[in-house]
Symmetry: C2
């Protein structure tokens, strides 16, 4: 996250170019940029999906006052072949492969959380970068494989607060290999348990009107995490500390933003 670019794209090392149903290789970056440069529609659902795509529009009954949409902060792409399953689902369905190409991009509605996977993800660093903290998980920590989920819950709450959008759908990447479900289970099991309290926390958390950018939102969120999740495990106090340290680092790297 030391990049100074406006748009960031993250992809796992086992993800490759996928093909669309016509056999054409998918230009992942082009689609992510299209998603990020066209508005989002978080306040009302459009049944024909992204209304800014060629060949479609807002359907009858969509309020005209909402048709300009809002700025898009995040573009969450999907995966053909190996789906992004948790360890229990991997174990139950070891042979399941994603072969369904869904030709859609859509905005996750305001107030709705989603499981943001970091495997194929693009975002506007200036807008939401401070929320994209993937830290304090994995080696030496009590949980792993929740770093992207954590960032997803945080950024969704912040995007909703700031009135910017998160899109999901196209582009697909080809996810070549499944990670080891037994290793994954060891990393995940506390997260699977803890998320049952974490999700309601994020569903109900509200940010102050005085927070007008992602940085300010993230600091307030760290404080709410400390107070609201600290009782689950001492880990969450450390995570809140990590969130604050992350923003301190962010500020050093982006001095203009705090001037």
């Amino acid at each position: 996250m030391v990049s100074k670019k406006k748009y960031i794209f993250t992809i796992d090392d086992d993800c490759f170019v996928a093909k669309d149903p016509s056999g054409k290789p998918i230009n992942v970056l082009e689609q992510h940029i299209k998603n990020l440069l066209s508005p989002s529609t978080p306040f009302f659902f459009n049944t024909l999906y992204d209304p800014y795509r060629e060949g479609t529009d807002f359907v009858r009954g969509y309020p005209f006052s909402l048709r300009e949409g809002v700025t898009t902060a995040t573009s969450h792409g999907l995966w053909m072949n190996i789906p992004d399953y948790d360890a229990p689902t991997q174990m139950v369905k070891p042979k399941e492969r994603n072969t369904r190409f869904v030709d859609a991009v859509m905005t996750i509605p305001k107030g709705t959380l989603y499981p943001m996977c970091g495997m194929n993800l693009a975002f506007d660093r200036e807008l939401i970068g401070p929320g994209m903290y993937f830290g304090l998980m994995g080696e030496g920590q009590p949980i792993g494989r929740y770093d992207d989920m954590w960032a997803g819950w945080c950024t969704k709450v912040i995007c909703d607060h700031l009135g910017v959008g998160c899109k999901t759908g196209l582009p697909y990447v080809w996810h070549s290999k499944a990670s080891n479900p037994f290793t994954n289970l060891r990393k995940e099991y506390k997260g699977i348990f803890w998320q049952e309290e974490i999700i309601p926390f994020f569903q109900n958390v509200t940010l102050s009107k005085t927070c007008t950018n992602a940085e300010e939102c993230y600091i307030e969120l760290a404080d709410k995490v400390r107070k609201g999740l600290g009782h689950i495990d001492p880990y969450f106090t450390k995570l809140a500390d990590g969130m604050i340290a992350w923003i301190e680092g962010w500020r050093m790297l982006n001095p203009a933003k705090t001037a």
Copy 2:
């Protein structure tokens, strides 16, 4: 709405069987019934869409406590060829055709409204029938082409209150002809204007905990419509009366429900 069947399917007279991308005719009823008989997931977004479809599931990070889903009340199908546009969009894009087959079914999240089109719609009459009032619009009324939208807003609010789900996506029908945009504009123009107040009303309306079925919800909603929208135009007082009369008729036809 004098049917006593559990599942109702409505289709316009200019809609015919569509084909999937492989050229196979789509069995609309089969897909609607699949949608209605499998649960909905309104509380958290699944990025691989309907997790109950073959070949897919809940993705990593989806809370296990929510994986049983909730009962589905409504299945909203889409349209190939002529999209369901309002008159202004029809006028601006007279040649636009929907050629994109999106192979997905999804739950509209809780708290999010959508434009429910009656062209290709199935629902569970016992669960949500009382909210499916398409009345007091069209000939002799100040607006038309908002009957399905009105029912959609009402049923979505009621479904959210009752904790049941609304799905959209498959199945597609082939919508053969566009209606006259000039006639449509005459029917719609007040609705286009009024919906700018109606939508925030439905976004903010809450129903009492004592309302435990669609009938009770609809009566309370009629009262809130009278108080909350009556100032826009005397028409809304009449519409609230119509909503009450509709429920009275409903009760006569479904006496067991009020015993």
